[in-house]
Amino acid sequence: MIAEFGHYALVLAFALALVQASVPLAGARKNDPVLMAVAGPTALAQFCFIAFAFAALIICYVRSDFSVLNVFENSHSAKPLVYKLTGVWGNHEGSMLLWVFILSIFGALVALFGANLPARLKANVLAVQSSIAAAFLLFILITSNPFLRIPEAPFEGRDLNPVLQDPGLAIHPPLLYVGYVGLSISFSFAIAALIDGRIDAAWARWVRPWTLLAWIFLTLGIAMGSYWAYYTLGWGGWWFWDPVENASLVPWLAATALLHSALVMEKRDALKVWTILLALLAFSFSLIGTFLVRSGVLTSVHAFANDPTRGVFILGILALFIGGSLALFALRAPMLKQGGLFAPVSREGALVLNNLFLVSACATVFIGTVYPLALEALTGDKISVGAPFFNATFAPLFIPLLVVVPFGPLLAWKRGDLLGVAQRLVGAAAVAVIAVAVVFAMEGGGPILVPFAIGLALYVMAGALTEIVERTGLLRVSLATAFARAKGLPRSAWGAAFAHFGLGITLLGVIGETQWSLERIAELRPGQSISIRRYDLQFDGMATRQGPNYRDLAAHFTVRRHGDFVGVMEPAKRNFPSRATATTQTALMTRGVSQLYLSLGDANPDGSLAVRLYYKPLVLLIWFGALVMAIGGVLSLSDRRLRVGAPKPARSKAALSPAE
C-alpha cells in the first residue's frame, strides 16, 4: 500500500506545483496580495507531499518490498541497511525523486525564511521555483515512476550495482544534488527580477547566500565523487574528465563566477545584467548536467540509465527553461539600469577578470563535453575528447586566473592602486620564488613547469594569508591589537581567505600527484615483495572473507619502511554472487598527506598475483583543499551581513539597535 500512497503523494504534489506556478504569478501581475500569498503555504505543502513520497520509497527499500519494480531491480534482502537506504538514489528513478525532493526543500526554505522579502519578488520566485518542480514531477510520473509494481512479486532482488555499494557513493549524490538544485534558487530569483524588470543591490544580497550554499555543497560533492573514483576504480586516477564529472564541474565554475559577480553587484551596484545572466547560466548548466547523466546519451562509467524516451523529455524541459529564460533575458535585460562605474584597476576590475577567466574555462569544459555528442549526431563520427584536450584548454585559462587571485581582495573598490598591491604581495612572490628554486634544485631537471606550478600554488596560499596579515596589521602592530582586529574582521573576509587558501592547497595536491606519482605493476608469489620509494611491501598470502552479500578474496601485504614495520595493507577482489560481478577493493595507507595505493589484478593459475602499486605524494591535499574551500564558504555564509534572508545591510540594523 505504501508504494501507492507514495505515488499518490507525487500526483498531489504535481497538482500543487501547478497551482503554485500559476496563481502567485497572476497575483504579482495584478498586485493582488491574496493570490500572491498562495505561494508560501503551497510551497510547504508541496514539500510535505514530496517528502512523504520519498519516505515511502525508503520504506519500500528498508522492507525489501520486491513487488516494487525499482526495489527489485536495485536492492537485495542480504544487503546491509545503509546500502538499502543509499540504493534509493543509486538508480535513475530514485535519484530523480531525490532531485525534486531537494528542489522542494529549497522552495520551502524560501517560503519559511522569506518573510522579509518584498511580496512580489517572493511570489514570483516561488512560482518560478514551482514550475521547475512541476516539470520534473511530470517527468517522474510519466517516464520514471519509482513506485511501479510487478504483478508477480519475485522472491529476491537483483541487488544494487556493486560499484555503488560504497560509503563514498552513499553521500556523493545527495551532496551534489543539493549543489545542483540549490542553483535553482538563484535562477528563480533572476527570472523573478526579469519578470519584474527591477533589480538592485538588495537582490544580490538575497541571491548570494543561496548561491554560496549551493556552491559549498557542489564543492564537497565534486570532491567526494573524485575521492570515490580514486579509491574504487582501482587505477589511481582522481579526475578523468569524464562527461559526468564535467557535468558537475561546469556548474561549479559558473557558480564560482556568480558568487564573485554578485559580490560586485551587492557592494557596488554594478555588473547587474551580467550577474543575472550568470545566475541563469549556472542553473542551466545544472539542468544540462542532469540531462547528460540522466538521459543515457553518454558512454561513460557513470551511465547507468539509458532510455531514449527520458532523454527526449528532459531535452524538452531543457529547451523550455533554458530557452525560455534566455529569451526573457534578451527581452528584459536592456531595461535594467546600469549601475556604478569603476576603473579597470580596482577590485571590481579584478572580479571582472576573475569572471572572464572562469566563464571561459567553463565554456571550454562545456564544449569539450558536448562536442563529441554534437559531432556524432551531425556526422556520425565517434570521437573521444579526453584529458589532453582539457589539459590544453583548461590549464592555460586557469593559470592567469590564479595569478590574479591574491590581487582581488587587496585592491580597493572603485579605483585601486596596482603598484601598492604588488608591493604588499612581495612577500607572497618571495615565497613563490624560493619554492621554485628549492623544487628546481631538488628535481635537478625534469619538466621545467613543475617548479613554477608549485611556486604558483604557494603564491596563491601566501597571497590569501597576506590579505589577513594586511587587514589585521600583524607584524606592524602588537600581537594583542592584531588579535583583536582579527576577531573584528568580517567573517566573509575570513571566508574569502580560506577559500583562496584552499584553492592553493588543492593545486599543490594536483601538481604533486600528477608529477611525482610512482607506479609499479608486478606479478607476485607469496613471500615475494615489491618496493616503491623507501617502502617494501611483502605479499604474505591470500585469504577469503565472507561479507553480508559478498565474498572478499583478500591479499595480505606487510609494509616496511627501511626494514621497520609500518602496517599491513589488504586489497581485495570482492565478488557479488547476486550480480555475478566483482569489484576491486583498493588498500590505501596514508603517510602524512601522501598515500600508498595498492590494487589487485587477476590471480594467475600458477598461483601468482598481479598487483598495481602507486605512491601518491601530496594526493590528500587535493580533497583537503576542497574541504578548506568549503569551510571558507561556511564562514562567509555565517557572516551576519550575509545571513540567509537578511534583506538589509548590518549597518542600518546596527543603527536601529545599537545594543546588539
Binding site: 527489485f72 510487478i150 537483483r158 562509467v301 539509458n306 565517434k382 584548454t393 605493476i521 560481478t581 590494487s599
Partner: protein
Amino acid sequence: MTRRQRRFSLIGAALGVLALAIGLVLSALKESIVFFNSPTELVEKHIKPGTRMRIGGLVKEGSISRGEGLAVHFEVTDGTRSVPVGYQGLLPDLFREGQGVVVEGALDSDGIFRADNVLAKHDERYMPKAVADALKKQGHWKDDYERKLGAAPARRAE
C-alpha cells in the same frame, strides 16, 4: 580615464580572454581528439600505423593469451572482422571473453593494435554505447544481458 575608455578597456579584456579561449579550443580539437572505429572500419579505412584511436567490440571467445609478465593478447571483434590487440598491464574487473570492450592505442607496423588503455563494460546492464552501435551496424547485436537475466520474472508493469 573617461567612461568611454573604461568601457573599451573592459570590452578589450573580454575579447582578449575570449580569443585566447577560442584559440586554445580550436588547437586542442585539432590535436588531441581520438576517433572511434569498429574493427571492420579499421580494416576498411586503411588507417596508417601510429594514428591514435579507440576501437570497440567484443573480446573474441578463446582469443585471450597471456605472455610474460603482464602482457596480454586478445582479439576484438565485431563479428565480421577482428583486430589483434596487445596490452601490457592490469585488465579491468569486467574484462572477459565475449564481453564488450573499448581499447585505446594505435596500430603498429605489424598490424597489431598496441593498446595503452582498456575499458570494459561497467556491468551487465550497460554496454559502452559505441560498442553497441558498432555491433548493431554489423548486424551482430545480441541482447546478451537480457538473455542472461531472462530467467528472472521481470515484467515491466507499464
